[in-house]
Symmetry: C2
Subunit: 501 residues, 2 copies
């Protein structure tokens, strides 16, 4: 056996074990949010910490570095799969070994303290009480990006954790154009007549049955998955054959809960579509958080809020809730109602990206030193006023609303909007490839949608970074234009608007 072959064989065995350990950790996390008895919190914390330490030990094992050195030294012998695995793993390995355990511990403590302080500060509407924690997290974040690669923009180093291949230089103009386009659309909608919401009560038992039918119809495989209620819905890939989704039922908001289930089913179908044969190779992951989000958003919005989908859904809603008189027109209007608000997670499709862009601009300012922590609430409120036309009455409903910064997760927010941009371009190409797409959706036949995504996204796993996977699928597209065209197409029609030329 050549040295290359031996290194690859040993590396994949090692990675397979690391992935197995990741699955164990994922089950602990899933159970914590679905089934764990209240008194088990401290015990669970110890279990998660132990498995996490073991994962870190295995990832930073010096043999990993040696195997990578060997494989990189014989690049020409590697298959495309091997080359991708080596590239992905090199990034993970280098990031892990470059961070001293001292810095990792200080960061972990700052995260934990930051979370506690944030909960308190949000409750008391007292940003100043959280400010020192945020400053410490920022300082440690910069220390971390320095340690990993002091030659690059710190935000670019952070992006590698979430959307590798994406940079500030790309994001800034992309998000600026999107922001201007969205503000223009939102202004037009604000001047039009508002759509009616669906304003009835839907018993939870009926919602459970409806969600089960919908997710099965979409193609989420229940032989290798399950749906459970959770306080904050999420999707988790535990192992091949085990990808679980969660949702939340609201008696007074049928569409929000159903949208959540479709969203998570979109994530779940992506995870279920990652090829089993890639286990241990370093490529059996989502290519990026943004691409993951493109899958959930595409199903939730492009499909799940379409007229065709609402037409299909009508009979099911009427079957499970015979006492309500909800029609497909009600569902379509209720699903696509636009209303600028203060809260990101409750935002509609048009305003959602503005919430993200506010956060992106602010965290970039924090990291570049052009915005001071103390000035953050004012900067937040000014941007909400400017982009969304609303001003938070309190910091609790403003700058303190999201948990992310309290855990030092800077650079994460752009993934949400990247997901919407990817979804818009993917949708554009899919509709061209499947001429009878909407007729199929209208009769509940989602198989061609899933097949297209399987072929162009899921089966690619992390063989390439997300921008390249999307480019392979759609060609050279202007994603901002794709997203704006899609939003004007749907919301323009509903609100009786024509896009200015």
């Amino acid at each position: 056996l050549s040295e290359t072959t031996t290194a690859w064989t040993e590396l994949t065995a090692h990675l397979t074990e690391l992935e197995t350990l990741g699955g164990v950790s994922a089950l602990l996390a899933w159970d914590q949010q679905t089934n764990m008895p209240p008194a088990a919190g401290a015990s669970r914390g110890k279990q998660l910490a132990l498995i996490s330490r073991m994962q870190h030990e295995r990832l930073t094992d010096p043999r990993v570095g040696a195997w990578l050195d060997t494989l990189e030294a014989s690049k020409t012998e590697l298959s495309p799969l091997q080359a991708a695995g080596v590239r992905n793993l090199r990034m993970r390995y280098d990031r892990s070994v470059k961070l001293s355990s001292d810095l990792v511990e200080r960061f972990a403590r700052a995260e934990s303290d930051g979370f506690t302080a944030w909960v308190q500060a949000k409750q008391n509407n007292d940003f100043a009480a959280f400010a020192p924690n945020l400053q410490l997290l920022l300082d440690l974040t910069l220390e971390k990006t320095q340690a990993i690669d002091s030659s690059r923009h710190p935000y670019d180093v952070l992006l590698d954790d979430f959307d590798p291949g994406m940079t500030v230089a790309q994001l800034k103009p992309l998000f600026a154009r999107l922001r201007d386009g969205l503000v223009q659309l939102l202004d037009a909608i604000a001047a039009a007549e508002q759509l009616a919401p669906v304003d009835e009560l839907f018993p939870v038992a009926g919602q459970r049955a409806l969600h089960a039918e919908v997710m099965a119809a979409l193609g989420y495989d229940l032989q290798s998955g399950r749906l459970d209620p959770a306080e904050h819905p999420f999707t988790i890939g535990i192992a091949p054959g085990d990808v679980r989704i969660t949702t939340h039922y609201y008696e007074d908001d049928l569409l929000s809960g159903l949208g959540g289930t479709i969203h998570e089913a979109g994530h779940g179908m992506y995870e279920q579509g990652l090829p089993v044969s890639f286990v241990g190779t370093g490529v059996r992951d989502a290519a990026s958080l943004g691409l993951h989000e493109s899958q959930s958003r595409f199903w939730e919005n492009t499909i799940g809020r379409s007229q065709a989908f609402c037409n299909w859904l009508e009979a099911k809603v009427q079957h499970h809730f015979p006492d309500t008189g909800v029609t497909s027109a009600d569902l379509y209007r209720g699903s696509n109602r636009v209303e600028p608000g203060l809260i990101r997670v409750a935002a509609d499709e048009v305003t959602y990206n503005l919430h993200i862009i506010v956060r992106f601009e602010l965290e970039l300012g924090l990291l570049e030193g052009t915005i001071a922590v103390a000035d953050l609430p004012d900067a937040w409120n000014a941007r909400y006023q400017e982009y969304l036309g609303v001003r938070p009455p309190t910091d609790a409903k403003g700058v303190l609303q999201d948990v992310h910064w309290s855990g030092g997760a800077f650079g994460y927010f752009p993934s949400y909007t990247l997901g919407n941009l990817y979804a818009a371009s993917l949708g554009n190409s899919m509709i061209k490839a499947i001429p009878d797409l909407w007729a199929r959706v209208e009769r509940g036949d989602f198989a061609p949608v899933l097949a297209w995504l399987r072929e162009h996204v899921h089966s690619k796993a992390h063989l390439q970074d997300a921008p390249l996977i999307v480019a392979d699928a759609v060609g050279e597209r202007d994603a901002v234009e794709d997203l704006l065209t899609y939003l004007w197409g749907r919301h323009g029609a509903l609100y009786g608007l024509t896009r200015p030329v």
Copy 2:
């Protein structure tokens, strides 16, 4: 710090981590039987195998042996807790290091093949097809007991895994006397008029609500536990604050399902009562499987099939099943109906131990070489005829009914009957200590029962072996006589019998 103190500190830190890993493994097992999607079987097998290997590596770490050596060399300095922890861990450690990994692997393969062959053989009613697997498992079991301690009776070596402190020399006369006494009682019952079963349908939704009320009333803590349905009910202690039980609902058999929940709640309350302060000391375990079973059986039978309990239960049953006319007298008769049968897990309180004694006598014969594998079916059938008065029409309903031997679990069965014997003596003493016990049970006040068990059993964890814990609680008692007195007292009265002097 003295060498002893240092060794103890390091040992407890090591053991704490080992227990944490045990909890991870327990969650994987719990999930496998309650929630896991069907397609996840292979992935789960890998996760369990990995954690199991890590547990074995940690248990057999040479440092453990060195810490034990140090602590054993300064026995006089040890507290009773430390001495017990060292004794327990020495047994576990020695058993693990004495088994070569080659033998462990051959055993694991024989178990796996044995299980597959047993499933097939049972399905085809073909004992001969399973016989070679059973022979191999027996041979490997003897090889294992030789490796652990060739100076002792192999069955005693096996008993250490389940009921340490118990020996063949003790069990043989105990079980022989119990067998004769049970056969006498059973003969008397067979000649009396049979009691009526509860023969109605009970919708599962009502059973769920009833079980929830009952387990909470008994004292099973839902802050640190939960009840889920499972194919084969079990209890699992995952960690301090996390002890879960499972049950099975039968629409046509209210009492069987409820008895199962009470049984598992009994196991669960024992696990919930193990002191948290014992974590990492080597004593935070049940003292034995038999003592564990004494807790489940005591709640299920002594309490759960009593007249007082049925009186309390009547209103609850009538509330949840208003269409049935079930009275407390029906419940009491139905709970205590005796009928010799072929199947151990379906047996009543009187015949259950005869099923166990058949198995004990046969596996002793197999290990001592007085019964050949080929002769096992005949030996089984002859004993069923002699002790229970019934003869299996097929081996599938006879010698092939239990899974235990297919996994090489010889020496396990006696724990069930030891549990009933311990429960009888514990019950005798508890009733003396709580004079108004039955009046309390009748009004649903189970607190004194749980408090007595907490004090005399649960809080002792594995500070001593089970026979000593029971002796401390009840004094010198004749457990066989306690059990026969209890059974004659209840079933004699119901069947109108007087015990011969």
